[in-house]
């Protein structure tokens, strides 16, 4: 059974369509973690047939993903897919990523926008933000990837048990890559399509991610 986890904050406009798309592709275990939304995200998700977990207050995407992971583990999930709630990913890609995970006996499959030409990435993002993000990620994690901060990933149960996300906000992407390396998890990248309805992380967002990562390295609290 594949559990698809959707962290969502104020996505009432999109969440219904995303859940519908996932059901159409045959996924039945869809978990929406409503991260303290101030709109009707939870209600729409519940109506669409997803299991909804509600954070009473907003804690960030990383915190929502960890809540989803804890829930999935408690339900005996063998494979989990992290998927965005803003319609930017294609549900079709989950099948391919899961198949790769299982046939190659991997622990994690990370989505990449740069392994095929389906994603129409805005120029500034493609040429400036993402290359800088990739370089910083490589320096911070010691792992070389073709993409940076792609929210699409598929994880085995073994990976879920090893990875605990402590970065509440967007720096969880970097943290997950660090933990993959730390625990010696087997991983690869897989081409995924990203459709931009919004620009996503800008330079300010990137700086905030960098600050969160550096802060965690300086303070280095025990998990």
């Amino acid at each position: 059974m594949i559990t698809v986890i959707l962290p969502a904050y104020n996505e009432a406009k999109n969440i219904g369509r995303v859940i519908g798309g996932l059901f159409e592709h045959g996924f039945v275990e869809i978990v929406v973690v409503d991260d303290g939304s101030t709109d009707t995200t939870a209600e729409v998700a519940e109506k669409a047939g997803a299991t909804v977990i509600r954070h009473p207050i907003n804690r960030g995407q990383g915190a929502a993903l960890q809540t989803g992971d804890v829930y999935a583990l408690s339900q005996g999930a063998e494979t989990v897919a992290h998927f965005d709630a803003d319609r930017q990913f294609n549900p079709k890609d989950i099948d391919g990523a899961v198949e790769l995970l299982r046939t190659k006996q991997l622990d994690v499959v990370l989505g990449s926008r740069f392994l095929d030409s389906r994603s129409k990435i805005p120029w500034f993002k493609r040429r400036v933000i993402l290359p800088v993000g990739r370089l910083i990620n490589m320096l911070l994690t010691g792992v070389t990837l073709t993409d940076a901060h792609n929210g699409f990933r598929v994880l085995s149960r073994r990976a879920l048990e090893k990875i605990t996300i402590n970065q509440d906000r967007m720096a969880h992407n970097t943290e997950i890559v660090s933990l993959i390396k730390k625990h010696g998890l087997r991983y690869t990248e897989y081409p995924v399509e990203v459709v931009y309805h919004e620009f996503g992380q800008n330079v300010g967002g990137g700086m905030r991610i960098l600050w969160d990562v550096v802060k965690s390295k300086v303070i280095s609290l025990k998990s």
Binding site: I53, R54, P56, I57, R59, T67, Q75, I219
Partner: protein, 124 residues
């Protein structure tokens, strides 16, 4: 007396007043009150008698007393900043943990989630 000495002395008195006020409102402990009152008194002493730091500066090999005060103050500020960051991070994690627990326990009420940390209260 220089004007700056007057300003700083007035500010230190204001700070002591605030510390005592917080103690009276039971917002800080007696130990913390003592620490901060003594801290501001020493600061006032140094401001009123700047030459008093010369003796310590000479022993420690620092040229001027004022330099010694600046070095020590900076060290203290950075240490306090580090402690604040650690505390802040701990609080952030605890709030997230609580938020997660509340979210998942609400699911227990809906019979969708069985928290592995919570033993069943039923006797059968």
């Amino acid at each position: 007396m220089l004007l700056i000495q007057l300003f700083l002395a007035a500010f230190f008195l204001f700070a002591i007043g605030k510390v005592v006020g917080r103690y009276r409102a039971r917002e800080i402990s007696l130990r913390a009150t003592f620490f901060w009152v003594i801290f501001w008194i020493v600061a006032g002493f140094i401001v009123m008698l700047p030459d008093s730091t010369m003796y310590a500066a000479k022993i420690l090999g620092v040229g001027r007393g004022v330099d010694l005060v600046v070095y020590l103050s900076l060290a203290f500020v950075f240490f306090a900043l580090f402690r604040l960051m650690v505390k802040n991070e701990q609080m952030r994690r605890e709030i997230t943990k609580l938020t997660r627990e509340v979210a998942l326990l609400n699911m227990v009420d809906n019979d969708k989630f069985q928290n592995p940390n919570v033993k069943s209260s039923s006797n059968d």
